[in-house]
Structure formats: C-alpha cells, structure tokens
Subunit: 339 residues, 2 copies
DNA sequence: GTTAGCACTCTCACTCGTTGAGTGCTAACC
DNA sequence: GGTTAGCACTCAACGAGTGAGAGTGCTAAC
C-alpha cells in the first residue's frame, strides 16, 4: 500500500488541483493538470495519483465523470502548510489600502473592514472587544450656534463619543467651559455606570441645567451600552455575488442574513487564541456556514485585549493572499490601537 | 369607440390588477380579478375590459396565454392619482423607526437611510446638498489621555467634524482651552478655505504648536472637501434580493454596482423641484435602471437648500406606502436640519 | 351590456436521446 | 515498477419533443 501514502509528487499535484480550482471554481480534470501545470506527467499518471488522493480523502468527485474537487481536508492541509511555512508573505499594498481618515476607534474599525473587503474582494468583518469599566477622562461642552452645544465625553482608553444637546442661549463659550471643568472635576475617573448614578443626585442640586445633565446621562448610558458589548462591523457584504458558488440568490440571501446577526458574526470571528486562524466549512461551528470559510487574524488593542479582523467567503478561497492581506491590516490596527 | 375610453369601471379594474401584481409579481388573470376583488363581474367581462385596457396601453401581456401585467403608463396613472389625491396617508410608524442617536449631519443622513430601508424593505438613498462657504463657528481642543487631544470644528450650519491630534504632554485642559479660545477668536467666521490659507501664515509665527495647526489644516481641508460635494448614502442595498425580479444574480449585481457609483446615484435622486417625485422605468433617464422605479421626496436643509430621500426598487412597488414612509422621514429631516 | 362555453395559444415541467468530458482499467512500454 | 496509450464506460448538460394547465378571444345566448 505504498502508493496510499502522501508523497511529494502527490502533494504537488494536490496543490495544482487546489490552485486551479480556486481559480476556476470548476472540477479539475487530469488532463488539465498534466497540461496547464508543468508536471511532465501524462494525464493517465495524474489520474492514478488523483485516484489515490481521492482514497486518501483529499479529493472528491461531484459525480463520476466530472473532474475532482478539493475536499475540506485538502484545504486544511494547504492552509496548514501555508501557516507553518513561517512568515506570511508581506503585503504592503494592503496596508496602503488602509490609509483613511481616522476619527475614533469605531471609524478605524469600519475603515479597516472597507479596506479589507476592497482589497480581497471578499466580505470582511472586524470585531472590537468589549471594554468594561470605561472611566471618564474629560467631559467638555463645545459651543454651537443657536443655543446648542456639542457634548463630548472622552474615556481613559481614548474612546470618544459626542452628542448635540440644547443649552440656555445665555451660556457663552467661557460659561460652557466653566461647566465643563466643573463636570470633569467631579466625574473624572468615574466609570460610566457611576456617572449615570451620580447624575440623579446632581439634578436635584442644580435644577437649572437639567438639560445638560440629562444629555450627559444619556450619552454615558449609550457609551456604556455600546462598550459593554463587543462591536462588529461588516464591509463589502455583497462581494459574494462575484463568486459562482453564490449564483443562487437564495444562498446569497442566506449568507447576507447571517451577516446581519451580530451575535452569529461574533461567534464566527472570536474564539481562537492564535494570531491567525482558518476555519473551513463545518469547522466554523455554524451549520448555515457549512460551505464557507472564515479566515481571522487577531490584533492587539490596549493591554492584552484583542480584537479580530476576518474574511468570510466560499471554501474555495486564495487563503494565502487573504491571510497576508489580513495580517497586514491586523498589524496596522495593532499599531494604531495597541499602544 | 366608446369602450375605448377610460371609465370608472376600467379604472377600478386597472387598480385591482396593479394591486394584485404589486402583491404577487405574477401576471394577473381575469378570473383572479373577478374572484379576489369584489367586482360583481364575471371573468368574461373583466376579460373584455382588460382587452380594452391593453389597447389603451395600460396593460401588457408577457405572452398570449399569460395574464396581464401593468405597463409603465399604468403605474404612472396610479401614481399620479396617488399624488393628486392630496395629502399622503400619514405614517407615524415610519417616523418612529427613525428615532436613533443623532450625532451630526452625516449621522442623521445615514440613520435616515437605514430607517427607510428597514421600514420599506427597499433600498433607500439619502442625499445631502453640498454646502459651500461653510464658516467656522467654534474650534475647540478637548484633552485626551497620553498627549492627545480631540480637535473639534463646528461650523455656522452646525456641522461637526473632529479628529485626534497629538499635542505636547505639558498642555493641560486650561492650556488647551486657552489655545482654543485664541484660535476660535481668530478663525471664527472664516470659511474653511480661508482657514487653510491662514494656517500657513500662523505656522511661521508659532512654531511650537505646528502639530496643532497642521491638524486643523487637515481637518479643515477634509471638511471643505466633504462639504463641497453632495454627499449621498445608501441603506439596505441588499433588500432587492427579496424581490423576484432580481432572482437573477446578474441583475442584482448590476443594480448593486450602480449603487456604488455616487455620481449615478445623485443623478437618480436629484432633479425635480417638486416635493415628491416618482420616476418609473425609463423616466429615470438611466438605461441600466430601465426596469426600476425611483421615488424621491425632498426635505429642507438650511435656508432654501434641499436634499432628497429616495427609494429605489422594481417598477412593481407599493408606491403609496413607500411615498408615505418617505414623506414621514422627509418631514423629520426637515424638522431636524431645516431651521 | 353581461355571461357561459369552447377552441386556441403558449409557457412550464418533464422526459428522453445525444453529446462530450472525464474517469477506470488493461495492456504495452521503458 | 513506474509510466503511458487506448478504450469502454458513466453521467451531467443540452436540446428537442410532449402533455398539462392557465388564460385568452370569440361567439352565441341571456
């Protein structure tokens, strides 16, 4: 049974089949391999090898007289080789794609998702870990025309959130600054939860500026809510329509509807502790994604926390280039958010 | 030839056909009308009327033994009646859908697009008119941890933009406020263009805070760029997959790719001076949208300027409910942005 | 003016050959 | 023993042919 073990030639052939299938999305025949890929072997020999590879579980036939299609096990092997091969191919291009305006953490995340999806032509997902116990660092009111003011809350982690509130028209910039100072002094270092609680007490003391206090309370509540849950962003969701495996509208719709369920998305992305992770088909642990692959790369944000950037697409995916694009963006995110 | 003119009964039948077609997307037969809609007429009579309606150009037959399908002319009549019928049906629900967080103009726009698409289940597009000559109202630096500061620019129209810049760690909140005051004093009332020009001069005078000035210049440039062009946002783009007319992936892709071209989108939306506008098929003036309809409602923003909210979908569309949803959101937008 | 009845048309779904790609196997070859 | 040529075989994809069903148009009766 010597021929039923993997050898170098089998691996070469298998790789050629995977490459061709990734390219064409069509079952690959023995003739194709012997001609398009310079193996120096005839189609008959390739056929024998393919037959062995099928028995080994690396190939499958959609039907008897079609070519072969790589199995999940084949993708797994391919990816493992890719990952064990040490450093991923660098990809400065991908990084270049990601040089957008950067406003606050959320913007970084969405730009990253956009950049990845544009670059890879797949659907990109970026996830931010939840941040509990956010503490207020600064609280400031910026004057706006017509009795409005922009309330800005900055946390110790650098998260920014703001909202427009109405204030008495008699308050000028200096007055607003004085209020800001006072508020910052009292609220600095408090968690968002504490802020909400404290405002109840204050509102009795200083009835006049109830509007301001209410605005703060609302914004703090909103920030707390948002930061307490992991947040996740999708980019390029309709890129899947470019791939023949989704030429059935129903499939495309099923795919897109999963993307709208944040919980599922997060389940898809998070989990692994490794820097890179490729989950193929059922490995995603989600039945409805049984013929998709998820490639994720983690990035550092703050001390020890980490988020994930990922790509979701058909199992037939150029894992190498996707991984290198992802790790480029992951690196950029670590640089920007890691400190 | 009396029977070849439109009469009340023909209109009633036509309306029933349109309603049924909007509901089912299937050619409507005479029997269906005589049974599902309480006309008190037999299918044969309906058939005669349908034949007349076809001759009048309101109906078409995909093939001889299929039912009838409303023509563009029929939709046009239907919509015209709807519009001339005076006030649109109010739609408080739609307005409720649109009660989200509101940060700055852009956020309002995107929330509006989201709300409309979620409510109507069609693709929504919202457009903001360009705002030239934006003048600085306030400019403020908000302290952030670790030598960073949030630079906020507020314009006279209430547009807000911010960015994180690096500043000397020695500057505390009061120092930043002092700088903010100084900057506001000098730049208030200037247009964004002027601000950019003036900063060149300043940077020579006060070398120390070159970073701050550069940050301002960049942000001003960005604001100017963004506000000088009309901006447009899409929501619920993949809602079209819900409709059988797009069960062909190629059509869906063509549709989605138009949505990505901002210029085309703007051409689709803008134009009419009326408050409501329904363009059916070729009336959109865009060949690739020949079997889509575009429904737009305008809203006021600032003095005289107006933007548009719209829905894009198949010609078979419940124009009535779409219009009322749009005008509800349009009203809300006018309230929020109009002043 | 309205309706019942009937012949007619055309799509849709299904079946049935035909075609062609690709395999598996065997026998010859190096 | 490994490699290759040749050939029979299989099965999806395509096209033509067929029957059923939906819906019409027309005519004649009410």
């Amino acid at each position: 049974m010597a021929s039923h073990e993997m050898d170098a030639r089998k691996e070469r052939i298998l790789r050629a089949i995977i490459d061709d299938y990734i390219l064409t999305a069509m079952p690959v025949g023995s003739r194709t391999i012997s001609r398009k890929y310079e193996t120096g072997l005839s189609s008959a020999t390739i056929r024998n090898e393919m037959s062995d590879l099928e028995e080994l579980g690396y190939l499958a036939q959609p039907h008897v007289s079609a070519g072969r299609v790589p199995s999940l096990k084949a993708y797994r092997l391919y990816v493992d080789e890719l990952l064990s091969g040490g450093a991923l191919p660098q990809n400065p291009e991908a990084r270049e794609f990601f040089s957008r305006r950067v406003r606050q953490v959320e913007d970084v995340i969405t730009s990253a998702a956009q950049a990845i999806s544009e670059f890879t032509r797949y659907t990109a997902v970026v996830m931010m870990p939840k941040q509990l116990e956010l503490r207020v660092s600064t609280l400031q009111l910026v004057p706006m025309p017509r009795g409005a003011a922009l309330l800005v809350i900055v946390t110790d982690t650098g998260a920014i959130r703001d909202t427009v509130i109405h204030v008495s028209e008699s308050l000028d910039g200096d007055a607003l600054y004085a209020i800001s100072r006072m508020l910052t002094e009292r609220l600095q270092g408090r968690t968002l939860q504490e802020v909400q609680e404290m405002l109840g007490a204050y509102s009795r003391q200083m009835g006049g500026d109830a509007q301001v206090l209410q605005g703060i309370a609302e914004l703090a509540a909103q920030m707390a809510r948002q930061s307490a849950t992991d947040s996740v962003t999708v980019g390029g969701s309709h890129n899947i329509l470019n791939y023949p495996e989704y030429s059935d509208v129903e499939k495309a719709r099923a795919f897109l509807s999963v993307l709208e369920e944040k919980e599922k998305l997060m389940a898809l992305l998070s989990g692994p502790d490794e820097a890179c992770c490729v989950r193929i088909g059922p490995e995603t642990g989600m039945p409805e994604m049984a013929d998709c692959s998820v490639v994720t790369v983690s990035y550092q944000v703050g001390r020890g926390h980490h988020g994930y950037v990922g790509v979701i697409g058909p199992t037939r995916m150029p894992y190498g280039s996707v991984l290198s694009a992802l790790s480029a963006i992951g690196g950029a995110l670590t640089d920007m958010l890691g400190e």
